[in-house]
């Protein structure tokens, strides 16, 4: 599935480089907004349908919320620290970091609200985060507390990296990872625009 998405973006880059004329940019922006509205509507339905998540939070206690909260704060603080090294404005780095691995949505929001250049950074950064999470998961599971495997996965803990977390840890951790992923995914559409308004 990820391959299809990468092919779509690669095909787009080729078309943009060699085929599409400059004046198409306006239509492209309108198309992205239209597509994003549809996608967010269905993402919303998916989030709303996860009612069992609320029940599990009740059973396990509200300290569960501390997991996604720590991941969100850590991702943003980590990105801000790096921003001084790579000479990227602080809030721009915060917006990219708050994508937490959900590259499709966060990158498009950044592209629409800020610039195509930062959108490209957001896309690459969050794709890399997902890939690194997949690579790091088995290592963290082997040498450290299983809870820590949820951290690098970020928002992807509810879909792409969930099977890997389940395989290398336990079903208990997988439940926590899923809940954390759902909470983070709900936060991202609000967090990314929040940081971009300061830029």
């Amino acid at each position: 599935m990820t391959i299809t998405l990468l092919v779509a973006i690669a095909l787009g880059i080729i078309m943009g480089l060699y085929v599409f004329p400059e004046y198409m940019l306006l239509f492209i922006d309108q198309g992205v907004t239209f597509g994003l509205c549809i996608m967010l509507f269905f993402v919303g339905i998916d989030i709303g349908k996860n009612k069992e998540v609320f029940n599990k939070i009740k059973i396990l206690g509200w300290k569960i919320i501390l997991i996604p909260l720590s991941i969100a704060i850590g991702s943003i603080v980590g990105a801000i620290c790096i921003s001084f090294i790579i000479k990227l404005p602080l809030w721009e780095a915060a917006a990219v970091g708050s994508g937490m691995g959900w590259y499709s949505l966060s990158a498009v929001i950044i592209d629409q609200l800020h610039s195509t250049q930062l959108g490209a950074i957001g896309f690459l950064s969050n794709v890399i985060r997902e890939l690194l999470a997949i690579l790091l998961l088995p290592i963290i599971a082997k040498y450290s507390k299983h809870l820590y495997t949820i951290a690098p996965a970020g928002a992807t803990a509810m879909d792409t990296t969930l099977p890997i977390i389940a395989r290398y840890t336990s079903s208990e951790i997988a439940v926590l990872a899923f809940i954390s992923g759902v909470v983070l995914s709900t936060m991202i559409p609000f967090l990314v625009p929040f940081f971009l308004q300061f830029t």
Partner: protein, 97 residues
């Protein structure tokens, strides 16, 4: 952006209260995926049309990589800081109740 958030919140409300019957939702299953492919294609073409990005792809790639590393280390650090001593064993939760 506000219009997009309106759609998101509308979706959450519809999903939470089961306003749309499941048989309709199953029919529309492919729509969000198709729109995602469509959006990414358009985003790709914007990147392709932007000469500055193509010329600076090395720098952009490096910055992206560094932010990814930073946010992974940050989230690991904060999980350790806030939850290093907290137990999430479900059995213990059962006993407590």
């Amino acid at each position: 952006m506000s219009i997009m958030l309106v759609f998101l919140i509308l979706g959450i409300i519809i999903g939470f209260f089961d306003i749309l019957p499941k048989k309709y939702l199953d029919k529309f299953k492919a729509i969000p995926y198709i729109s995602l492919i469509f959006i990414l294609f358009l985003m790709g073409s914007k990147i392709g049309m932007d000469k500055k990005i193509i010329q600076n792809i090395n720098i952009i790639g490096f910055k992206a990589f560094m932010i990814a590393i930073g946010s992974i280390i940050g989230s690991l650090g904060f999980i350790k800081l806030f939850l290093g001593r907290v137990s999430f064993s479900m059995e213990r939760q059962e006993e407590n109740r």
